[in-house]
C-alpha cells in the first residue's frame, strides 16, 4: 500500500454521539487542591453555587484573553476541524470534535453574554448553564482535549481549541471540578521540584547511578552535576529521564561533556515540564518562576529545556510574557545540539553506531505547532543516524497528530480513550514501518515516551520508542572512549576465543570436535538444532576447559600456555606418559 492510503481511510469515521461520555478523570483530593497556586475549592461546590461562580469566571476569561473572546465569537461551524481531532477519529463522538467541544462553552456564552442568545435562545444555539452541564459535559469533554492545537492549523480563522479548553478548565477549577492527576503532579512540583515527586536524595542518587553507567560503558568520567552553586547552564530534564528514559539523559550528559560545558541541574527546579499549561495560568506562572529563580541564583546565562513538548510550549510562549524580563537566554536541547552539530563542535560522531535502527520521528505537538521546532529535530537525527524516514507529510511537522496522552490526560483511568486517541499516530507509524522497515520511533517528549509504547503495543506495531538524544549518545564518541572500548573488546574476544577453542562433545551422538563451533555446525547439520540452541546438544569436553588454561610443570617449574603443551613437555623431557600427565602438570592457578 502507498504511504498515506491507510491514513486516508482512517478519516471515514462513523458518528457515535455520546461515545466519549464513558471517559472521565478522577476528581482531585483536598490535599492537592489546597496547594495549587490557583485559588480553587477543595471539593466541588454545591449545585446552587456552581452556576454563578462559573459564569463569573467565564466572564473574566473572555475579558482577560483576546483569544477566548474571539474564538467564542467567530466560529462559523464549517466543520473543517472535525476530522483533524484524534479523539474524534478514535471515538466518533461529535462532542469530541474541536467545534463540538467548543460549542459546549459557546452555547453557554451565548445564552448569558450575547444579545442574540438572550433574545433567540436555542435558535442561535444558546443554552443556559446548569450544574449538570458543568459536571457531565464540560468536565468530561474538556479533559478529552489534549491541547495539541492541530485543529487550529486547519481552521480558516485559526481558532485554537486549546484556548477554549484552557478557559473551560479554569472555569471548572473555580467550581472545584479539578482532576486528580494534574493537581497531584503539580503538587509534587511544589513539594519536590519535579512531576514524579522524586525527593532530593533520590534525584542525586540517580544522577550518580547514571554517571557510573556511563563510566562502565565508555570508560569516561562524565559528570551529571546537581545543585552546583554557580554554573553557566541550567539544564531542566523531564524528570522521567532520570528513571525510565535514562538513555536520553545519558545522551544529553555526553553532549555537555563533549563540549566541556559548565552545567548543572537543580533539585529545586528539577523538571522541564509544566502542568500549569493544563490547569491554569497562575500555576503555569508559579512553576516557571521556580526555573527563573534558580537560574538567577546560580547565575546561569543559558537555560536549556530537555526533550519535553509541553515544557517547551510553557517556556517558549509563556515564560517571558509571564515571568519576564528574563536575565538569561533559553533554548531547547535539540536547538542546542543542532547548533553544536552545525558548527562542528561535536567532532567525533560515528553514525554507524546507530545502524541497527531505522528511525522515524513523531513531532511532539508543542514542538511543531507551538515551538518553532521541526527542523532541528530532523537535523540532529540525520546527523547521528544513517537511516531516517519521515512519515506521510499529512501527519508530520505542523500537521503532526498527538500521541493521545497529552494535555493532562496521561492517567490510568483514561487509558481506553488514550488508546483511541493514539489511532492516527499509530496508523501513520504503521505505514512507515511497512514501507521502510522502521524500528525506532523517535519521540523527543516525556509524555510521548510514556504513551507511545503503549499505543504501539495496542496496535501491534513493532517499534521501539525512544528519544533523540538516546541516538546522539550512542553515536557521540567521547575522548578516551575508543581506547576503552578497544581494550574491552580485546579482552572479551580473548575470553571468547579461549572458550571457543575448547574441545567439545555432542551430547546426542557422543561425537567429539576440536572446537565448540565445529560441534555446533555438526549439531545443525546432523541433528537439526539451530546454532542459537547449540548448547542443547554441545558441551565442552570434560576436563577440556582446563586444557586451555596456562599450566606449570611441577618437576621443572616450566610454564606453558596450555595444559596440552605441558603434557607434551612432560612426556618428552620427563618420560611421563600423557595419561599420567596430571602427576606433573597442574594449572597455573
Amino acid at each position: 500500500m502507498k504511504m498515506g492510503e491507510q491514513l486516508e481511510k482512517m478519516y471515514d469515521v462513523e458518528l457515535k454521539p455520546g461515545a466519549g461520555e464513558a471517559y472521565v478523570c478522577n476528581l482531585t483530593k483536598p490535599e492537592f487542591a489546597e496547594v495549587m497556586a490557583t485559588d480553587i475549592p477543595k471539593e466541588p461546590l454545591p449545585d446552587h453555587e456552581m452556576v454563578p461562580v462559573a459564569l463569573r469566571k467565564l466572564d473574566r476569561m473572555r475579558k482577560e484573553r483576546k483569544s477566548v473572546q474571539l474564538y467564542l465569537d467567530i466560529c462559523v461551524r464549517c466543520g473543517a476541524c472535525i476530522k483533524q481531532c484524534h479523539y474524534f477519529i478514535g471515538t466518533g463522538d461529535p462532542k469530541n470534535t474541536p467545534v463540538g467541544r467548543a460549542e459546549l462553552l459557546r452555547k453557554v456564552y451565548r445564552a448569558h453574554f450575547t444579545i442574540s442568545g438572550k433574545l433567540f435562545g436555542s435558535l442561535v444555539g444558546a443554552q443556559k448553564l446548569t450544574p449538570e452541564i458543568l459536571k457531565n459535559e464540560w468536565y468530561k469533554y474538556f479533559y478529552q482535549c489534549s491541547e495539541c492545537r492541530r485543529c487550529s492549523v486547519f481552521c480558516p480563522y485559526g481558532i485554537d481549541q486549546a484556548e477554549i479548553t484552557m478557559a473551560g478548565r479554569e472555569v471548572l477549577n473555580s467550581v472545584g471540578l479539578a482532576p486528580k492527576y494534574v493537581t497531584q503532579v503539580i503538587s509534587q512540583v511544589y513539594k519536590h521540584g519535579n512531576n514524579l515527586g522524586i525527593p532530593e536524595p533520590a534525584f542525586k542518587y540517580n544522577c550518580q547511578f547514571l554517571e557510573e553507567e556511563i563510566k562502565e560503558t565508555t570508560g569516561v568520567d562524565v559528570k551529571i552535576p546537581v545543585d552546583k552553586e554557580k554554573a553557566d547552564i541550567l539544564y531542566l530534564p523531564p524528570s522521567a529521564d532520570l528513571f525510565t528514559n535514562t538513555d536520553t539523559m545519558i545522551g544529553v550528559a555526553k553532549v555537555f561533556h563533549a563540549i566541556g560545558a559548565d552545567w548543572t541541574m537543580s533539585t529545586y527546579a528539577s523538571e522541564a515540564a509544566n502542568f500549569g499549561l493544563f490547569f491554569s495560568y497562575d500555576d503555569m506562572k508559579t512553576i516557571n518562576l521556580r526555573v527563573v529563580e534558580t537560574a538567577k541564583k546560580i547565575g546561569a546565562k543559558l537555560v536549556i529545556f530537555g526533550e519535553c513538548g509541553h515544557a517547551w510550549r510553557a517556556a517558549r510562549q509563556f515564560m517571558e510574557a509571564m515571568n519576564g524580563p528574563l536575565p538569561f537566554k533559553f533554548m531547547n536541547i535539540l536547538e542546542f545540539t543542532a547548533d553544536l552539530l552545525r558548527k562542528g563542535k561535536l567532532k567525533n560522531i560515528d553514525k554507524s553506531r546507530n545502524d541497527d535502527v531505522v528511525v522515524t520521528l513523531h513531532d511532539p505537538c508543542n514542538y511543531a505547532r507551538a515551538g518553532d521546532l521541526v527542523e532541528e529535530t530532523r537535523y540532529v537525527i540525520q546527523q547521528v543516524c544513517n537511516n531516517f524516514h519521515d512519515m506521510d507529510p499529512s501527519v508530520t511537522k505542523e500537521r503532526t497528530f498527538c500521541c493521545g496522552g497529552g494535555g493532562g490526560l496521561l492517567t490510568e483511568e483514561l487509558m481506553e480513550l488514550r488508546m483511541k486517541g493514539g489511532l492516527p499516530r499509530a496508523t501513520a507509524v504503521k505505514e512507515v514501518v511497512e514501507a521502510h522497515g522502521v524500528n525506532y520511533l523517535a519521540a523527543p517528549c516525556a509524555i510521548d515516551k510514556a504513551q507511545l509504547p503503549l499505543v504501539m503495543q495496542h496496535y501491534n506495531i513493532p517499534v521501539q520508542v525512544g528519544g533523540i538524544h538516546d541516538l546522539v549518545g550512542k553515536a557521540l564518541i567521547l575522548e578516551g572512549q575508543e581506547e576503552f572500548e578497544a581494550k574491552k573488546k580485546a579482552e572479551e574476544e580473548a575470553a571468547k576465543a579461549a572458550a571457543a577453542a575448547v574441545p567439545a562433545v555432542c551430547g546426542l551422538c557422543d561425537a567429539e570436535f576440536a572446537t565448540m563451533d565445529e560441534c555446533c555446525e555438526h549439531a545443525e547439520k546432523d541433528h537439526k538444532i539451530s546454532k542459537e540452541q547449540c548448547d542443547m546438544a554441545c558441551e565442552p569436553k570434560e576436563g577440556a576447559g582446563a586444557a586451555a588454561v596456562p599450566a606449570v610443570c611441577g618437576l621443572c617449574d616450566a610454564e606453558f600456555a596450555t595444559m596440552d603443551e605441558c603434557c607434551e613437555h612432560a612426556e618428552k623431557e620427563h618420560k611421563i606418559s600423557k595419561e599420567q600427565c596430571d602427576m606433573v602438570c597442574e594449572s597455573k592457578q
Binding site: 482577560e64 473572546q69 466560529c75 472535525i82 492545537r149 486547519f154 480563522y157 485554537d160 558548527k343
Partner: protein, 245 residues
Amino acid sequence: MGVLANFVVNVLPYITLVVFVVGVVYRIAVWWSRPSPAPIPVFPGQRSVGDAVVRVLADVLLFRSLFRFSGNRILWLGSWLFHISFGLILLRHLRYFLGAEAVPGWVNALQGIGVAAAVVISVPLLYLLLRRIVHADIKWISTPADYFVLLLILSVVLSGLYAKFFAKPFVVDVKYVIRSLMAFQPVDLDKVYLSTSFLVHFFLVQVLFMYIPFSKVMHFGGVFFSPTRTHYFGGESHTKSQEEV
C-alpha cells in the same frame, strides 16, 4: 403598500446603517481591546510581523488553511467561490453609490463579472446548505442560525436576480433612491418606478446587514485578530545559537 414601501425606502435604511455600523464597530472594538497575556502563534509560519501579515492575507484571500486538508478541498472550493462572488456582487453595487453623473470606469468594468457572480453564487450557496443536511457530522454541529443565514443570503440573491432580469427596474431610479438616501433627502416614491421585487430585495439586504453584527458573519472582521495567526515567534530571551550567550 405605500406606507410599507415608504418605510423600507425612506426609514429602514438609516436604521440599518446605524445598527450595522455601530454593531460592527462595537464588536471589533471589543476584540481590539481584549488583552493577549502571551503570544500564542501556531505554526506553520510566523517569525515576524511580515510573516503574520502574509499568513492572514493568504487565509483571507485564498482560504489557505481550508486547502491544507485534502478532505476539505470541496469545502474550500465552495466557500472560496461563495466569498469571491459575494465580494464581486458587493463591488458591482457600487454603481448605485458612486458618481453623481457617470459611474467610475472601474465600477463599470466590474458589471459583467458582477452579474455573472450573482448567477454563480447560488451554486456554492446550495452546496453550503446541502452539506449541512447531508453529512451527519456537519448536521450534528449545525444550529438553526447556520441555516438561517444561508437562506437569507440565498433569498437576497434570488430576489436580486429576479428584480434585475424579470422586473427590470430603471437603473437611474435605483440610483436616484440610493443617492437621495446618501444626501439625506426623502425619496418621493411617486416619481420613481420601483418594482415589488426590488423592494423585497432592498428589504432583505437590510435585514442581512442588520443581522451581521449579531451573528457569526462577523468572522469577516475577526479573521484579522486571530492570535494564533497574528502573533509570531519572537521574544528577546529565546535563542537558537548558544554562541549568543
